[in-house]
Point group: C2
Chain length 219, copies 2
């Protein structure tokens, strides 16, 4: 039963988790689905359904027990067992991600970074090692690393992707602004900044347009 958490629900779980942790700090013992929905600007029913997929249930009139809910979500997100990851491409974005110490809270542990460029090799100010790329496969296999993060320029992203697959990586987090091809069983999640910008841009265009033709009832 618990197997079937939809992708959409899965992606909302971290948002609930974040909100619930805030509540927890403020010593709120109970929380209703409606309250969560109002605060997060989501539908009340949607929240209830999402929570139903992971939790053992709430009580009428009082809602859910905050702490229990947090635990349930964390279990379902796999935050209890940390996944090791390697990062390829120690440019600006790569270094920024390396230095970000919040990933552990999400179950991700970057063990090392790789790059071709000799200049950046060595220890980063994050304390993480930046190694030559030819050492990647060996390290991944030894440490059984299963997650790869790509922060190289677009034109070398596919090559890096292939290397990661070669190294036994099962899931790839891609920040390069390009599409990647990999075998079926490899999950590729692209953080497509361009797609996000498309959304913002579209919103602005619509908004500015509707302001120009201030008809009020444009449709």
């Amino acid at each position: 039963m618990k197997r079937s958490i939809s992708i959409q629900t899965l992606q909302r779980l971290p948002i609930y988790l974040n909100f619930l942790k805030e509540l927890s700090q403020n010593k709120r013992m109970n929380i209703s689905a409606k309250c969560i929905a109002d605060n997060l600007r989501l539908g009340e029913i949607q929240v209830r359904k999402d929570l139903a997929a992971v939790s053992s249930g709430g009580k009428p009139k009082v809602g859910y027990v905050t702490e229990d809910l947090i635990k349930d979500i964390e279990i379902n997100l796999g935050h209890n067992n940390l996944h090791d990851a390697v990062l390829v491409g120690a440019g600006k974005l790569g270094k920024a991600l390396l230095s970000y110490d919040g990933f552990k809270g999400y179950g991700l542990n970057i063990v090392a970074a790789f790059d071709v460029c000799g200049d950046v090799l060595g220890s980063n100010d994050s304390g993480k090692q930046i190694l030559a790329i030819d050492k990647m496969k060996d390290l991944c296999e030894r440490m059984k690393v299963r997650i790869g993060i790509i922060t190289v320029p677009a034109d070398s992203a596919q090559k890096v992707c292939d290397m990661l697959v070669e190294s036994g990586i099962l899931a790839i987090w891609n920040f390069a602004p390009t599409h990647l091809s990999a075998p079926e069983n490899i999950l590729i999640k692209s953080e497509n900044m361009a797609s996000s910008l498309a959304l913002l841009s579209m919103h602005l265009i619509k908004n500015i347009d509707s302001k120009k033709g201030e008809m009020d009832n444009e449709e």
Copy 2:
């Protein structure tokens, strides 16, 4: 008619655009929907439908004219008119984004950054100014900036969000791992790393689990 581009389609447009630009460099004049689909691992029909939403159409037997398609997509993405943006939070991620010079290609122009911390003020190695946050409102109003990028820690993100709204910002790109509340007419696009990680994590858990119980036909 062209009004109704679905969100999903909109988010795929930059991917097509990227691919088409590569083709264009290789002097390919024409391209079929099937070819795009195969290269990008998408459905042929999906591609055709997406393209139908933005383009004036292709010809049987030859497909679409590459250059025309690029233009059509760029128009629909608003890449022709650059949107100005401000960035708040000149930490590691903020600086990384400031230094990334690829945004202009997506129609985004970061005009300045803001931070509370005195240390980082001044000119960045990106050439962009990092200013004190109290100057934000004035600058946004003067330059009619409509996009705000939030790269501050989670606990100050909402405060920054409010300030941006105050400054006349219409669309917010949020990198803080928290949910933000703003008036209805403000678009908030959160780059939720935790959500992405949830996806990766889930994939690994499923994969490793199915390997443990190597039943082959687990369902």
